[in-house]
């Protein structure tokens, strides 16, 4: 668990990273900010706007490119990671199939009115089955990762160790670690390959969008109005668990129908007691002194179906 972390919404149009950095790094600290933009994949190096915005020295850790280099040198690891990717995708599809069957009745039970003495336990039990499925899924995915680690020992491979040593050097000389959003699975798996947070230690981290999701205990994929397919939120897998009791929901304005109390209830009750935090443009959630504090305008979903400020 980190002592200090700041979670932000999307940063492309109205960035507030500079203010967040100012909260954790003194103005006269000229050490570079270590930046991870691996979630942007092949656009990883396009960090000019971010550099101009933060107005401090920046060292992009080039995590995505490092993994690409490792793949070039170690095709066996590449094949193994692809195979793991295929297994993860299949497990996600199987989970999705079961989830659909459990969520439909939960939704219907929330919609129904009548004798609360009868409805409440039915709702509770139906939601408990969803919780159990989510946890089963997290365990299955963890087992796939464990199997991968045990078989291929990625951390022990020469090409990985070489990159890790370099990353460690950069992180040691950095004042703060910034993690940009993007493809959450790519980001998670590439950071995990290098055990980046192990190298960095318990120092301040600022993460936005997908990176905020990756820091939390559960990564929840969501969209209330996808162009096709189910609209039920899915647990992808466990995140790094470096910040507690929060489900990060970036781009909520575009992805969630927050004026539908039933949808809000479904999501908030499913992941309670974690805070379902809406990380929109301008949102900021600070984890310090073992508690969460939201900046004005940063909202969360409530179990009663409303949207409220996170507040102090």
């Amino acid at each position: 668990m980190l002592s200090t972390a700041i979670l932000l919404g999307p940063q492309r149009h109205v960035p507030i990273v500079r203010e967040a950095v100012a909260a954790v790094v003194p103005r006269d600290d000229r050490r570079p900010l270590a930046v991870v933009t691996a979630g942007w994949e092949e656009r990883e190096s396009e960090d000019q706007e971010l550099r101009e915005h933060v107005q401090r020295p920046v060292k992009n850790l080039e995590v995505w490119a490092r993994v690409e280099r490792i793949f070039d040198k170690d095709p066996e690891l590449l094949r193994a990671m692809r195979s793991r990717h295929d297994r993860l995708r299949t497990v996600q599809e199987l989970y999705r199939l079961r989830l659909q069957g459990l969520m439909d009745p939960v939704k219907e039970l929330l919609r129904r009115t009548g004798d609360d003495d009868l409805l409440a336990p039915a709702r509770h039990d139906a939601m408990a089955m969803v919780h159990e499925l989510d946890e089963q899924h997290v365990r299955r995915v963890a087992a796939i990762h464990a199997e991968f680690e045990a078989r291929w020992h990625p951390a022990a491979r020469a090409s990985v160790q070489r990159e890790k040593r370099e990353l460690h050097r950069h992180l040691e000389s950095a004042s703060c670690l910034l993690l940009a959003g993007g493809h959450v699975s790519v980001l998670l798996h590439r950071l995990r390959l290098f055990d980046l947070f192990g190298l960095y230690g318990d120092r301040p981290v600022i993460a936005w969008s997908a990176a905020a999701m990756a820091l939390s205990e559960r990564i929840v994929l969501f969209h209330d109005d996808p162009p096709q397919g189910s609209s039920y939120a899915e647990v992808m897998e466990a995140g790094f668990g470096l910040v507690p009791d929060v489900v990060a929901l970036p781009h909520a304005k575009n992805r969630l129908i927050t004026d539908d109390p039933l949808r809000v209830q479904l999501l908030a009750q499913r992941f309670a007691p974690a805070i379902c935090a809406l990380l929109d443009r301008g949102s900021r959630l600070d984890w310090t002194s073992s508690r969460w504090r939201g900046s004005p305008g940063t909202r969360r979903l409530t179990e009663s179906g409303a949207v409220a400020e996170v507040g102090e």
Binding site: P10, R12, H13, G39, W40, E42, R43, A180, G181, G182, H183, V184, S185, S209, A210, M213, L221, H223, P226, P227, Q228, G229, E234, M236, P250, H251, N254
Partner: protein
């Protein structure tokens, strides 16, 4: 007490008639204060004011009489017609205005909504709850792709054919892109906002970045009607030349062909003649007319189409891997498209079929593109949170 003329909850026609009773100024005021066509629940009221001896509404809704007569409001030159229109519908129409036995088709002067097509423009009325989808409108935040005009040499036809190449924003030679081949592509750009839609859906991560090749046949009524030369043009000329020119994924799974009306026939016929070449098909309001008994009544231009669809129905094979089919329920083609769906399913292809309360027109095809394209090429939306 509320004057019935001012009570928005009551039917608009009696209110209109009440305004007529009050004189010309009151009628003018009433017309100025209300939007026409006036949509109230499932009821749509059309109004025409002007010199005429007869006014009719001309539409293209299969099953309704082709022209519906307006009724003149007593002692005025205003004409009114009320019809039923289901929620979320779109209906394109023109007004027929007749004087001294001569009729003219015009767009509805009181209606600001029009829909364009290669033949001009029609007025369009939206049923309750319909609005043009927001993803069809230019989004200032969406990075723009580019359109390049080129010519491609056709060995099959022995000529050079104009095409347009859509490259997505942030196009890179080092990447590999899926390919979408579009029949009547220039029309899709002009009348169905195709470039805006591709830009928006890619920006919203609902589609992966892809390359679209927009084709436009000089003789679509013949070349699209199961002409084996056209199928060979796509498979032997167009796609190989594009694969040599552009960084494309050279695999059927990353290759789609689409079209509307005869363009859908051309897409299916190409996939049937060259099974497995295109892994994905998007067929909109396909003119898939067939006959079980006797002859068809669609005119000679449909002869090769009917022959093809009849043959396809006997031996469909497995032309592709997945297909999205859409059709408007107001089209005469709805029966043929509905009949095609179980046949496609029996081939083992992944099939999605979508009906819309709309007709045989470009905005219907535009409005189905989000679902169709993202079904065939799902974007990384679920996993990307930038």
């Amino acid at each position: 007490m509320i004057d019935p003329a001012d009570d928005e909850a009551t039917d608009i026609v009696p209110r209109l008639e009440a305004a007529v009773q009050k004189g010309e100024a009151a009628l003018d005021r009433f017309v100025a204060e209300h939007e026409f066509p006036h949509v109230q629940g499932r009821s749509v009221t059309f109004l025409f004011c002007g010199e005429a001896q007869e006014v009719t509404l001309h539409h293209w809704i299969h099953g309704l009489p082709g022209s519906l007569p307006f009724r003149r409001l007593q002692h005025t030159d205003c004409w009114v017609l009320q019809i039923d229109l289901p929620a979320k519908s779109r209906m394109e129409y023109k007004l027929g205005v007749a004087m001294f036995g001569r009729g003219t088709l015009i767009r509805d002067p009181l209606n600001r909504h029009t829909a364009r097509d290669p033949f001009g423009a029609n007025s369009v009325v939206y049923g309750e709850g319909y609005a043009p989808p927001e993803w069809t409108v230019e989004d200032p935040e969406a990075r723009k792709g580019t359109i390049e005009e080129r010519h491609v040499e056709s060995h099959v036809f022995g000529d050079w054919r104009p095409i347009r190449v859509y490259r997505p924003a942030r196009f890179r030679e080092t990447r590999r892109y899926p390919l979408l081949v579009v029949h009547d592509g220039f029309d899709y750009l002009q009348f169905a906002s195709l470039q805006t839609i591709l830009d928006n859906l890619i920006h919203r991560l609902e589609l992966p970045p892809l390359v679209a090749i927009l084709t436009q046949s000089p003789d679509r009524m013949h070349e699209y009607a199961d002409d084996e030369r056209h199928a060979r043009f796509l498979v032997e000329d167009l796609v190989p030349q594009m694969e040599a020119l552009l960084p494309l994924v050279r695999s059927p799974a990353a290759r789609a062909v689409m079209g509307a009306s005869f363009g859908a026939v051309a897409s299916l016929s190409t996939a049937w003649r060259h099974p497995g070449f295109f892994g994905k098909l998007l067929l909109q309001s396909g003119s898939f007319v067939f006959t079980e008994i006797g002859d068809h009544d669609r005119g000679p231009v449909f002869d090769p189409v009917v022959k093809f669809v009849n043959e396809f129905r006997k031996a469909p094979g497995r032309p592709s891997e997945s297909v999205f089919v859409s059709c408007g329920v107001y089209e005469s083609l709805i029966y043929y498209n509905r009949s095609l769906v179980p046949l496609l399913q029996e081939t083992g292809m992944q099939v999605r079929f979508r009906e819309a309360h709309d007709g045989h027109n470009w905005e219907n095809w535009r409005d189905r593109l989000r679902e169709g394209l993202s079904y065939l090429f799902p974007g990384p939306l679920w996993l990307v949170y930038e």
